[in-house]
Every structure is written in structure tokens, then in C-alpha cells.
């Protein structure tokens, strides 16, 4: 999983928090989250693009989730899409004009 170096939480703090949280049961974590203490135990602040996605989508815009077991590559995509910066970067990339043929040929060199 990639973490943004510019994010408010340092990688070390996140790793430490994950190590601590992974010793707890899922029910205990659910309890902490429900008590509003998630930010205390997991020092992660989404620092990505604050652009909100659209409120609604047309049927054909939705990519329905597979109910079958996922392959490793599909799992990796889902994990990276859970990070705000990854999602923002993807949106930014989609907004960015594709490189011209000239730039592409330069990149190949």
C-alpha cells in the first residue's frame, strides 16, 4: 500500500497504529470507532483532493462489483483506491490531457 509522504500522519505513526490495532479484536475496533475514537487510535487524515464526487450516477456509469473471489491484482486495485491520494491522483490523471505523440516518442528514448 502506498502512503503519501505529504500526508499529515507520518508513515511511522500509521505503521505503529496498525501494529497496535491488529492486536485488537474486530469487535473492539468496532467499539472504538462507534465511540468516535478512531482518530485517536489511527492518526490518518485524508489529505487528498477535496473535490467531492458527483451525488448521483447513471446506471451505465456504475461498474458493478463482482460477487466472485477476486484475483490478487483486483484486490490490490481496491486497496489502493481506498486511499484518498490514490483516488485523487486517478481523477487528476483522467483530467490531464494525454501526452502528445512527440512527448511519447521522447519518453521512449
Amino acid at each position: 500500500m502506498l502512503l503519501d509522504a505529504k500526508a499529515p500522519a507520518t508513515l511511522g505513526a500509521v505503521v505503529e497504529a496498525v501494529a497496535r490495532l491488529s492486536t485488537l479484536s474486530e469487535a473492539k475496533i468496532l467499539e472504538l470507532v462507534s465511540a468516535g475514537k478512531l482518530q485517536d487510535v489511527f492518526p490518518f487524515q485524508p489529505a487528498g483532493d477535496p473535490l467531492l464526487p458527483a451525488d448521483s450516477k447513471a446506471d451505465e456509469e456504475l461498474v458493478e462489483a463482482s460477487a466472485l473471489p477476486l484475483r490478487a491484482a483486483q484486490r490490490a486495485t481496491i486497496v489502493s483506491a481506498s486511499l484518498p491520494n490514490a483516488a485523487a491522483a486517478k481523477r487528476r490523471a483522467a483530467r490531464t490531457k494525454a501526452p502528445s505523440r512527440k512527448i511519447k516518442s521522447l519518453l521512449k528514448k
Binding site: V14, F44, Q45, D55, S56, D59, A65, A67, L70
Partner: protein, 217 residues
């Protein structure tokens, strides 16, 4: 192989069905939920999920489960509004290959860790959804379907958040899940005393619940 449900009964008129779609959850979905619905949910003291921040919850769950060598499957349920377009109406986070809660039959199962349905009044007022869907059964079904398709027999479990009080216990019992008796032992890796708020579906219960939703797939 079963698909996820594609329609759910309206909350106000059980004979009327609303189109729904299930997508994989990403950070943008979590951000939208926190921004658009979070403030309303936070004001409702009866909601177990009133203080959940999905934008933080989502990466945290992946990381914690990876540390335990398991995978999370975060999913979003969208429902059709009066405009014909789809709006996010439910969120859930399922852990795959979780120890089955009935220790008499050691096996893997799926664990429905977090599930949340959007406030119906907000969907009606702000998103032109005259018929918000009843998603409780659909969200349970998603864990059952994943478990069945992965060869885990539909076995699934969950822990009813204490913040949900007795009404949440009654809801899961009403849905047809088995309540794990308070005296029952939990799998060792669950690392927690049994507080009487665990529910599960065995193969037979899972099949009955899934079959009941087959016309909606």
C-alpha cells in the same frame, strides 16, 4: 454462482421494489458519505454508526486486516432515485476468511464488520428518492453471497455494535441470523470475551436467506 441483489423493497411500501446496484468502495465514496450524510447521522443518537468516519475507516480496515493476513471487501449500495440516476444508499465492509464463530464446526467464514444505511429522510429530501430501499437484508446477503461463491458455504458472522443497543440485537434476530449464546466460546483468534452480541449464519440459514432474495438478483 449468485450475484448481488439488484433490487430491494421500499422502506415505506414493502410491495414496491427499488433498483439497487453494488460497486466496490473507493476513497471518493467514503468522502462523499462523510460529507453528505455524516453530519445528519452524527445528530441521530439512535444510530450505531453516528460517529463512523468512512474516509479513515476504509484505509484502516484494509491495513489492519492485511496485518492479519486477511482481505477486506468494502462495498457500496446505490439506489435509484426519482431522476432515474443512482445515489449511494448503503456501505459495508466485509472481512474474508474470518474464523467461523461457531467453534463446534471450525471453518472459515465472512465477517460483516461495518455496515451502514443512509438516513431515509436525507435521501428523500436532498436526493429525490421517494422510495429509499430497506437495505438491512441486502447488506447481510452480500456477505452470504461472497462466502458462498468463495466456497465458504455462506457462513458469515457479525458483532452488533454496543452503540446500537437492544434494537440492533432485535434487528439481526428478526433478519433470521443465529444469535451466538453468551456462554459459547469464540474462536481463539477473535481475542475477545463473548458479550452476547455476536450473530452468525450457518450453511442452512445462509442458503435460506440467500434463496429468499434470489428473485431480486
Amino acid at each position: 454462482m449468485r450475484r448481488f441483489a439488484r433490487s430491494a423493497p421500499s422502506k415505506t411500501n414493502k410491495r414496491r421494489y427499488v433498483d439497487i446496484r453494488v460497486t466496490d468502495m473507493n476513497a471518493a465514496d467514503a468522502l462523499w458519505w462523510d460529507t453528505r450524510l455524516g453530519p445528519t447521522h452524527a445528530r441521530d443518537a439512535s444510530r450505531a454508526d453516528r460517529l463512523w468516519v468512512w474516509s479513515v475507516l476504509l484505509p484502516m480496515c484494509h491495513l489492519v486486516q492485511r496485518a492479519k493476513r486477511r482481505h477486506c471487501r468494502p462495498l457500496v449500495v446505490w439506489a435509484r432515485a426519482d431522476t432515474g440516476r443512482f445515489v449511494r444508499a448503503g456501505m459495508c465492509l466485509i472481512i474474508e476468511e474470518y474464523p467461523y464463530l461457531d467453534v463446534r464446526h471450525p471453518a472459515d467464514s465472512d465477517f460483516l464488520w461495518f455496515l451502514s444505511a443512509a438516513d431515509s429522510a436525507v435521501l428523500r429530501a436532498d436526493y429525490a428518492m421517494s422510495h429509499p430501499p430497506a437495505l438491512g437484508r441486502v447488506l447481510l446477503d452480500m456477505a452470504i453471497v461472497l462466502s458462498q461463491n468463495a466456497g465458504r458455504g455462506g457462513r458469515m458472522g457479525l458483532h452488533a455494535a454496543r452503540a446500537g443497543g437492544d434494537s440492533l440485537l432485535a434487528f439481526y434476530a428478526h433478519c433470521g441470523l443465529n444469535s451466538l449464546p453468551r456462554r459459547a466460546a469464540l474462536p481463539p483468534s477473535v481475542q475477545r470475551p463473548n458479550d452476547g452480541r455476536f450473530f452468525y449464519a450457518d450453511e442452512a440459514v445462509a442458503e435460506a436467506l440467500a434463496a429468499a432474495l434470489d428473485p431480486s438478483r
